[in-house]
Symmetry: C2
């Protein structure tokens, strides 16, 4: 299931970059640690549904857009 | 965000019942603890994306069908 985290992270990163938001800013907006944001994007974290929703909200998208 | 877990749990339960699968069987199929399955359905667990996918797979549905 490691693929899942990697795919989610890649989609998150794509979306963030499309919006021109830095990783630091994403972390700040989503109220998560800066290093945690990086780990999520690299697919190193088994993220909770709650955090995934939080990130989607900050990016102004539907969580479905971030799912593999 | 507690609502999220409750809504996910309710959708999971609905789907499981529609398929006529017991909670015990769901737990067995998804390789999770029986009591954990109950807690997920009651919205007491902040479930990971990975587990959510696992449950959707066992129920033969798309994870999007289980999301609020």
């Amino acid at each position: 299931m490691k693929d899942l985290a990697i795919q989610f992270g890649a989609k998150l990163r794509d979306k963030r970059k499309t919006l021109g938001i830095s990783q630091d800013k994403l972390a700040l907006l989503a109220d998560i640690d800066r290093s945690y944001a990086g780990r999520v994007e690299r697919g190193e974290v088994n993220i909770t549904l709650e955090k995934a929703y939080q990130l989607a909200e900050v990016l102004g998208c539907d969580i479905r857009d971030l799912l593999p």
